[in-house]
């Protein structure tokens, strides 16, 4: 209910660096969807949020998902809403993409592809890291 009023989550100028690290494929477990919902909710706090996709987490962003046959909600379009929530820093680990035969063109959103080494640096700079 609080998000109906702008400023309720005003943290008085204290902006922390939050990183969500997604490591799970989208439909076999509930982790990917739960993590996405957490990102959307936390966007109300207006922190410096970034989302990283590594390991099977890169599959969350795969184009062409059609879940009609398995009776589950296809939540891949929701990643495209993140920009409107001011969550614009999306990172994908290069090694994870390559191991799965994927390229940036296979993904539903624009991302920055980072090597494990670059991502490791970025993770180390965070105030809070939430991994799922």
């Amino acid at each position: 209910m609080e998000d109906e009023f702008e400023g309720t989550f005003d943290t008085e100028g204290v902006i922390k660096k939050f990183m969500f690290v997604n490591r799970k494929a989208p439909y076999g477990t509930i982790y990917a969807l739960e993590s996405l919902e957490t990102v959307l909710i936390s966007a109300a706090f207006e922190q410096d949020t970034s989302v990283a996709f590594v390991d099977d987490g890169v599959y969350q962003l795969k184009k062409g998902q059609d879940t009609t046959g398995i009776n589950m909600k296809n939540f891949s379009p929701t990643y495209r809403a993140l920009e409107g929530y001011d969550v614009e820093k999306l990172y994908v680990e290069k090694e994870s993409l390559e191991a799965r035969g994927l390229t940036e063109d296979d993904l539903v959103v624009d991302v920055e592809v980072l090597s494990a080494e670059e991502l490791s640096e970025l993770m180390d700079e965070q105030d809070v890291v939430l991994s799922a």
Binding site: M1, E2, D3, E4, E6, E37, L40, I41, A43, A44, K73, N74, F75, P77, T78, R80, A81, G84, Y85
Partner: protein, 110 residues
């Protein structure tokens, strides 16, 4: 719990959000709006239709902050404001308008 419309029964949860988004019709929107004490005008429809388009594209109902920003982008600053949207939907544009639009409660709205 259900809405009755032309002999059809449309289930909703304890807060009035319909359970199956595919059962929504504009007539149903009118009935939900009436329950909410809202007389639907073109301006109300503009927001409700916008929300339905947003849901179709992103598969979520937007948080109010995001809705205001998106409306501002599409219809200009006069309509893209908290004040304008709260005048149309006094109990909250995201919650009340989403209910009328047949969408789930906005993500992040606990």
């Amino acid at each position: 719990m259900a809405y009755q419309i032309e002999g059809k029964t449309i289930e909703h949860d304890e807060e009035g959000y319909i359970t199956n988004i595919n059962e929504w019709t504009s007539d149903l929107a009118g009935i939900i709006a009436k329950d909410e004490g809202i007389d639907m005008t073109d301006e109300h429809w503009e927001v409700v239709n916008f929300l339905r388009d947003y849901y179709n594209e992103y598969q979520i109902a937007p948080a109010v902050r995001v809705l205001v920003k998106a409306i501002k982008k599409k219809f200009g600053p006069e309509k893209g404001s908290n004040k304008y949207l709260y005048e149309l939907f006094p109990y909250g544009p995201a919650k009340q308008a989403c209910k009328i639009a047949g969408l789930p409660k906005p993500t992040g709205c606990v």
